[in-house]
């Protein structure tokens, strides 16, 4: 269960990072960066 959780969160985190790098508009890049912070914490189960 934990492995599946980590894999899902890692996949979304990776997609966010790729999106952040490919997106042209600053506003959308900044939004992705904010969400990425939370997913990085989720990835390492930091609470």
């Amino acid at each position: 269960m934990a492995l599946i959780y980590h894999l899902i969160v890692f996949y979304i985190t990776l997609n966010l990072a790729v999106y952040l790098l490919r997106e042209k508009r600053l506003r959308w890049q900044a939004s992705a960066a904010v969400v990425l912070v939370m997913f990085l914490l989720r990835l390492f189960l930091i609470k």
């Binding site: 997106e23 960066a33 990425l36 990085l40 609470k47």
Partner: protein
């Protein structure tokens, strides 16, 4: 069509990626600091310092393990357990045990103090509440900082929550209650972390041969069981004697018998399964109520809240509440007074199992001088 991303956007993306990682690291460091324990300073009279895992080894090296402080007198007598921190968002329960711990001297009998029963609950806060992570109590030589935690076990230590939780006593509860220590008694050896902690507490009651146990809590002012002594049915006489003692001292409490149809709570299951005299004390805490305004350290320490003043005017509370609030020192004083009164009644009913404890501050002194006067200065 040229689909290449401009270099400026990629460079900006890399910078934002680095910034996001930096914020995550800083936040992570801050969150992880919540997992560090609050330093406590037991006096030289401490007989033994154990851990809950000594009573149930499966808890060792888990977030459920917590400190157990044991004071034994030279003469045999009764055995008392005082449990604080079952709900870490109820600060008077935790702080009262810290005050007692740092001032306990036992001449007769045994006193066991567990300040942070749900240790995992101290490692996080309830989401969406905006509560402060810590609060400070000034002492004569600096501030003592204590964690303000969550009612429940941290979900990183126990997850997922079931859709419906059936506790070890058969009571059906909402899924999140699987992480509520005070719905988990008598616990399960192979259950989730919270149930294992409850199981360990039951083992402690048995192995230390506890005669009487007190679980310290707080309740929101809109909650009916407030400023109360909740007692197991076998302890009705002792509860009544305690109430009289407190009323003679000018303190108003209400008595609530532990309901037979509400299972999993300490005051029910300790009495039923361990056969001891079980009590739960509630004081009034605005900081974890539903009607509170903006959370802050002041709300925890001073207990003042305009919303609760309004609610009191509208007759929606079960306790008097005005602009003076209900400060933490008054709530801690109530707990100390109630425990001392319990011991007076206990001595009268069980003279062969009396307890002689010195060093505990007078409740009036705590109210007048503040909690910090009775805490060890920070080191």
């Amino acid at each position: 069509m040229n689909r290449a991303v401009p270099r400026r956007s990629t460079g900006r993306g890399v910078l934002l990626l680095i910034a996001a990682a930096a914020v995550a690291v800083m936040s992570g460091i801050d969150f992880r600091s919540l997992h560090r324990g609050d330093p406590l300073y037991p006096p030289d009279s401490l007989s033994r310092h154990r851990h809950l895992s000594d009573y149930f080894p499966r808890l060792r090296h888990t977030a459920g393990d917590t400190d157990v402080y044991i004071f034994e007198g030279e003469k045999p007598g009764g055995h008392l357990l005082i449990l604080g921190g079952t709900h870490p968002n109820e600060p008077a329960g935790f702080i009262a045990t810290v005050v007692l711990l740092e001032n306990t001297r036992v001449a007769r009998g045994k006193v066991v103090i567990v300040p942070q029963a749900n240790r995992s609950g101290f490692t996080h806060n309830d989401p969406f509440e905006g509560n402060p992570q810590r609060f400070a109590i000034p002492t004569g030589a600096g501030e003592r900082w204590f964690r303000y935690g969550s009612r429940l076990t941290n979900p990183v230590h126990q997850w997922p929550d079931p859709a419906l939780h059936v506790n070890p006593s058969g009571q059906k509860l909402a899924g999140a209650e699987a992480r509520n220590l005070n719905r988990s008694y008598p616990g399960r050896r192979g259950g989730g972390l919270t149930e294992q902690v409850a199981f360990a507490v039951m083992q402690l009651l048995d192995q230390e041969r506890i005669d009487m146990a007190v679980d310290l809590h707080e309740a929101a002012p809109e909650y009916p069981v407030i400023n109360a002594i909740v007692f197991h049915s076998r302890s009705a006489e002792l509860a009544a004697m305690t109430l009289m003692e407190l009323q003679l001292a000018g303190m108003d409490f209400r008595l609530e018998e532990s309901p037979l149809n509400l299972r999993g709570l300490s005051h029910r299951e300790w009495g039923d399964h361990a056969g001891i005299h079980a009590f739960l004390l509630e004081s009034a805490n605005a900081s974890h109520g539903r009607l509170k305004g903006r959370p802050s350290q002041d709300l925890i320490l001073l207990g003042k809240d305009k919303n609760y003043v309004k609610a009191a005017e509208l007759g929606r509370l079960f306790v008097s509440f005005d602009e003076r609030g209900i400060p933490l020192k008054a709530r801690v004083a109530r707990h100390i007074a109630a425990i001392k009164s319990l011991l007076v009644g206990w001595e009268q009913l069980h003279p062969d199992l009396g307890l002689t404890v010195t060093g505990w501050p007078d409740a009036g002194a705590v109210r007048a001088d503040g909690i910090g006067r009775f805490l060890h200065p920070p080191q």
